[in-house]
């Protein structure tokens, strides 16, 4: 994974609360077996009309939004399904950060594991940012600060471990693998019986 330190990017605003992962990528796009190419399904039912043509009223379809890397959206973004495809689809379309007042738990976790930074900022700063289309923002993960177009700075927090992993470009798997002796010790002493070995229902 590439390290995430400073992101200078332009915003596109999707001014809606409770954007669920079915909106981010509808289930019919989940039938693949790889992490790639999911961008074509991103917001598919919002971006395109029933006849497949891009809808002019969808913010991302505006010509000036094509290069946006920061999605500004409403509260509880990413609620619903656990599909990590939502994160892969956003990243496939070039997004590197999502800024909103709050995020759903599973989405936030999935995003952090892939290098898509979920940034929760207070409502007042969020309202200012959401009012400015195609704004330029600078995200500094080390400082946990976003510089807004009006030159104000907003602080945010990311859990310290996820932040460390992002700054270093490492993933959680490495850390878990390094816990081998502790895991083995737990298995010897604490583990609940799985019930499989003695069962008549063994497959």
């Amino acid at each position: 994974m590439d390290p995430f330190r400073v992101l200078i990017g332009r915003t596109v605003v999707l001014p809606m609360d409770d954007v669920d992962t079915d909106q981010i990528i509808p289930a019919r796009f989940l039938k693949g077996t790889t992490r790639t190419g999911l961008g074509q399904g991103l917001f598919a039912d919002r971006r395109y009309g029933a006849d497949g043509t891009p809808r002019a009223d969808f913010p991302r379809n505006r010509p000036d939004a094509a290069g946006a890397t920061v999605l500004v959206t409403g509260r509880n973004f990413g609620c619903g399904s656990s599909r990590e495809h939502a994160v892969w689809a956003l990243m496939d379309q070039g997004f590197r950060a999502v800024i909103g007042p709050s995020f759903a738990d599973i989405f936030r976790g999935n995003a952090l594991k892939n290098g898509l930074l979920p940034i929760a900022i207070p409502a007042e700063a969020h309202a200012r940012l959401a009012a400015a289309e195609d704004a330029s923002v600078t995200v500094d993960l080390q400082a946990q600060e976003v510089a807004l177009p009006d030159r104000t700075h907003v602080r945010f927090t990311v859990d310290p471990f996820a932040r460390h992993c992002l700054l270093e470009g490492i993933d959680e798997m490495e850390f878990l693998l390094s816990q081998e002796s502790a895991i083995a010790a737990y298995e010897r002493t604490h583990e609940e019986p799985s019930g499989r070995g003695t069962s008549q229902g063994r497959t």
């Binding site: 079915d22 619903g80 656990s82 976790g109 471990f161 502790a182």
Partner: protein
Amino acid sequence: MTLARPRTLFQKVWDGHVVSPATADTPAVLFIDLHLIHEVTSPQAFAALRERGLSVRRPDRTVATMDHSTPTTPLAAGARAVILDPQAATQVRALEENCAAFGIPLYPLGHERQGIVHVISPELGLTRPGLTIVCGDSHTSTHGAFGALAFGIGTSEVGYVLATQCLLAWPPKTLAITVRGRLSRGVTAKDLVLAVIGRIGVGGATGHVIEYRGEAVRALSMEERMTVCNMSIEAGGRAGMVAPDETTIEYLAGRPFAPKGAEWDAAVARWQTLVTDEGASFDQEAVLDAADIEPMITWGTNPGASIPIRGTVPEPAGDASIARALAYMELVPGQQLLGRRVDVAFIGSCTNGRLSDLRAAASVFAGRHVADGVRALVVPGSQQVKKQAEAEGLDRVFREAGAEWREPGCSMCIAMNGDRLEPGRYAVSTSNRNFEGRQGPGGRTLLASPLTAAAAAVTGRVTDARELMR
């Protein structure tokens, strides 16, 4: 002697699974007792294992089935299902190959134990009190009905659990939801949980593990508790739990993977300690009176947008999200849903696809017929549910009423397998999500109980099922 600090049910299960505790800089390493996998969210995780040359650490703690993208088309006796969608077929084949390569037990299409992952694990007795259970599916919260700590994870985490049988997690907060008194006649567990979500909102439990408590919860059967815990995620909850009791123990006794003999006795003794101690505190609490809960139905595009069946659709009053939802649903503020024409009734899913749900639906279908122009789908949650329903003759009730009696799977809840709601159509569905396009692009979902869905099927309109109950 010092008295132990009182702990919640959640805290006890969490504490028992900490491999390494959280520090200021690192989350806790949590041991996972049971990892359920399915065809849609696992292929990329197996690919990650292969890229790193890793194996599956505990195939004995991993169980696979296929449910999301599999067909539910009715089959002649003895016939084998054929997956016509080449992408779905590839995904299913990938699961078969991955399970074979890594030694993971699989209940494939056609197996007598195949079904929706959250239906088969409890049926098999794999889901038990005090376990940590994860699956790459947000409705893993279902298993909390047994007093397990069960939650949905993304595909990266599926890979971590395959490789290490552990996850990294910061301790969540706790939320007690107490439901006092008893539910009225004709009011179901689905209505209870829709009322809860309506009360606290779709983000109301974010960051929290819910414990459902109180007389109304204690009075629920295991299947009803599963319906409630299933939809914890629809309030944003990390998990939902119910403390195990006699109902839980009775359900588990004799299940294929339940402990036997002395192991069973030891397990029951352990399970009986899994209650929230007197004096333990929760980060948040909410209290509902069961007597206030009516049969519920959703009008909007998230599961929190519900009203009592005889209630009226709200006015936007300047709220853009309500206005948006009303436009999508083509509903007029201030009007009742009662009496509105519907096109489809969908009975099934991990929320309401178990035997008691089908019995409830059949009680409405019996002696009646699906209304003209309405399509009614009844999709059992598993092969075992199907078999039991057929043994009771429920399939005949559905067929004679003109409803489709289908093969088990997720079906029109997620619309990945060809079972799809057409654009602009209205479905009363027993599933868990009414998001825009969830049951098919442009489709409109009204979430409700099996009683309400069956009543809509036979009347062709949104109906208060209590009017049809004898």
